[in-house]
């Protein structure tokens, strides 16, 4: 009986902590929403938020340059990295000798631990000068940011793709080969379709990391708040602007609320990705 009472106490303590965790999670999201409220409640809120002018001096808080920057940099980085990572996954899971595969996967996993600031440093060293030569401008640009981001995402995505492809049961591959399919046919018709949910999930992980990446992008993108004129022009993203302006506008000011609106946009995108990935995992 004493035992049972003690069990009850232990259960209450862990459930209490679990409750605190969930409340704090909701609290974080609520803080962003409440913080962004002034920008959402004013007249013509959407039009003002989506305007292309960000000019604190003249009370203009349009987020369009940053939304566009985030979208362009993320999409371009993904367009570069998805083929690279898919090639990596295929090579590791199908071409490397059996004995090297685990090592290759572990190596990729280790590369995912390289801090993003190191990629930013490399971007300044290598990518920005290269883009400068290529485009004739400063070199700090959306393109440079996308290239840096792509290299940063490559180990993660390559690792996840390789894992997904290696999880496909060997019997499928053997059955397909036994029916006379070539390696390429087996890859396209058996391997990729059977690994599709995991591949999609891996892709969503990469999207989430790309949208949320801050420092590596901030170091090479140039930090210009006007609408970017092209891939070679400097720009800014939601995260980089949040980083550079966070300490500029104290809480309560209109600028602070605009930063919350940026955070809210990021949260909304992340929430969507979480939902999508739950769908791919077969959860409600």
């Amino acid at each position: 009986m004493r035992d049972q009472q003690r069990e009850k106490v232990i259960q209450s303590v862990t459930w209490g902590l679990g409750g605190i965790f969930v409340l704090l999670g909701f609290g974080l999201m609520a803080m962003v929403l409440v913080g962004a409220w002034p920008t959402l409640a004013e007249p013509h809120a959407l039009a003002r938020l989506l305007s292309p002018t960000w000019d604190p001096m003249r009370d203009q808080w349009g987020l369009l340059p940053f939304l566009l920057g985030t979208a362009v940099v993320t999409c371009l980085a993904l367009a570069i990295v998805v083929p690279l990572a898919l090639a990596t996954g295929i090579s590791i899971s199908r071409m490397l000798p059996w004995s090297l595969r685990p090592q290759a996967v572990r190596l990729l996993a280790a590369l995912t631990a390289i801090p993003s600031v190191v990629f930013g440093w490399w971007g300044l060293e290598t990518v920005v000068p290269a883009v400068r030569i290529l485009g004739g401008q400063a070199g700090f640009s959306l393109l440079a940011a996308a290239i840096v981001l792509a290299l940063m995402l490559w180990p993660t995505l390559g690792f996840l793709f390789a894992e997904a492809l290696m999880k496909v049961p060997r019997s499928y591959v053997e059955a397909s080969a036994a029916l006379g399919a070539s390696d390429d046919q087996t890859l396209v018709r058996i391997l990729i379709p059977s690994a599709w949910p995991q591949l999609m999930n891996a892709f969503l992980v990469a999207v989430a990391r790309g949208l949320g990446e801050t420092v590596a992008v901030q170091m090479v993108i140039g930090g210009q708040v006007a609408m970017p004129a092209g891939l070679l022009s400097p720009g800014a993203t939601l995260t980089t602007q949040l980083l550079t302006d966070a300490t500029l506008f104290p809480p309560g000011t209109r600028g602070h609320a605009a930063l919350d609106a940026m955070a809210l946009a990021l949260l909304a995108a992340m929430g969507l990705l979480v939902r999508l990935s739950a769908r791919w995992q077969g959860q409600p």
Partner: protein, 270 residues
């Protein structure tokens, strides 16, 4: 197609190898004992990264000491003392969403609460708070995954011998999950050590001459960022590379130790 894939991969590998070589080539000449132990200098020769190394270790360690047990307990509340299904599903969604919030947003929120509202200084403690907010959902996920991977038959066997739930957790489930927990903790520490965005806003961009918990708490990762964006000119790149090299070696050490410990837990006697 397979051969094309192989060459494409080779291309990516070469670029990545180039990056690592660059870090080593530029960083190694600066990497002296004196560099590792002395304080940074804004101007002139002879600055180092001693305080940054200390800050990185202290802040990552502090955040882990706070959040690893909290995460384990919260994970246990969901797996070992299982609430109704609906609760678990809400919980899983909150965990996944929180985990996906970019660290810069979490840093921004901690900045607002701790620094603007509570008037905490930019400091080691504030930085640890930011790392805790980042790491708690990570610790919960590590715990949930590790606990869910413990076969249900272990628990049943234990209950059938008259063990209570908490006895089963302490004597069977935790020992069986420990290897995976250690592994997850290692990866989480690696992630924390490399964090910069959230710390730029909360821990500050310099170090004090006498270390104090309420003093500014620049870490290695933040220092790299500072040197290359806000700091001084020509010598910056080499100093940054040497710092990056140090940070990466530190992370490699963390991963190596945790990996070995985890292997040893999972396959004792090997």
């Amino acid at each position: 197609m397979h051969h094309l894939a192989f060459f494409v991969m080779l291309g990516a590998v070469l670029v990545m190898a180039g990056l690592l070589l660059d870090v080593v080539r530029e960083g190694l000449p600066h990497l002296t004992w004196q560099f590792l132990t002395s304080a940074p200098k804004e101007r002139g020769e002879g600055g180092g990264i001693g305080p940054e190394i200390v800050n990185t270790i202290v802040m990552v360690g502090g955040a882990m000491i706070v959040t690893a047990p909290l995460g384990l307990l919260v994970g246990m509340s969901q797996v070992e003392w299982r609430p109704p299904h609906a609760v678990v599903s809400v919980f899983d969604q909150v965990r996944a969403t929180w985990l996906s919030i970019p660290s810069v947003v979490l840093g921004f929120l901690v900045y607002r609460v701790a620094i603007a509202w509570w008037h905490w200084p930019l400091s080691v403690v504030t930085g640890v708070l930011a790392l805790c907010v980042m790491n708690w959902p990570m610790m919960v996920s590590v715990a949930v995954t590790a606990l869910r991977n413990v076969p249900a038959t272990y628990r049943e066997a234990s209950w059938a011998l008259g063990a209570t739930r908490s006895q089963t957790v302490r004597r069977v489930v935790l020992p069986a999950a420990l290897g995976e927990l250690i592994n997850g903790w290692g990866w989480a520490m690696a992630r924390l050590a490399g964090e910069s965005a959230a710390l730029i806003m909360t821990a500050g961009l310099n170090v004090s001459t006498h270390w104090s918990a309420w003093g500014p708490g620049e870490t290695l990762a933040v220092y790299i960022w500072y040197v290359r964006t806000e700091g001084y000119g020509a010598r910056g790149s080499g100093v940054a590379a040497a710092t990056a090299l140090t940070l990466m070696l530190l992370i490699a050490l963390i991963l190596w130790v945790s990996g070995r410990l985890s292997d040893w837990r999972q396959h004792p006697g090997r």
